[in-house]
Subunit: 82 residues, 2 copies
Amino acid sequence: MARVVVDVMLKPEILDPQGRAIARKLPQMNFDGVISVRQGKRFELELAGPADEAALEKVRQIAATLLVNPVIEDFEVRVLGD
Amino acid sequence: MARVVVDVMLKPEILDPQGRAIARKLPQMNFDGVISVRQGKRFELELAGPADEAALEKVRQIAATLLVNPVIEDFEVRVLGD
């Protein structure tokens, strides 16, 4: 049994109003030194078997099909250590 | 300049209907071997200075104040390598 993470972020050229709203709020709350905030999604998948290359390829297909909008989002798949 | 990630996930005891809907859809799409899916959020913060302990403590405060609902969510702060 392995756990795999799919990190999904908006492509750099896509505007992120939620992230910008957070970034703009920070100085008012006395949090300085944060240049930008981007908000994305994170999926944790628990696999029945090991996270070998075949399983990761399957997770990439799942991500591209179900989890990600490839027009506006990029994603990364990585194995979660314990 | 450093980039820091805040990973936000629902606490294990909180039901995740979105994740469950995805997990249930997978076998119908011929993706077997995924036991469960949990959906969370991911924030990328770009810092003006280095990601030292003081900056990370500030990011933890930002997370606890603005990014996370501590009743139902857990979070983790980590520095993003290049």
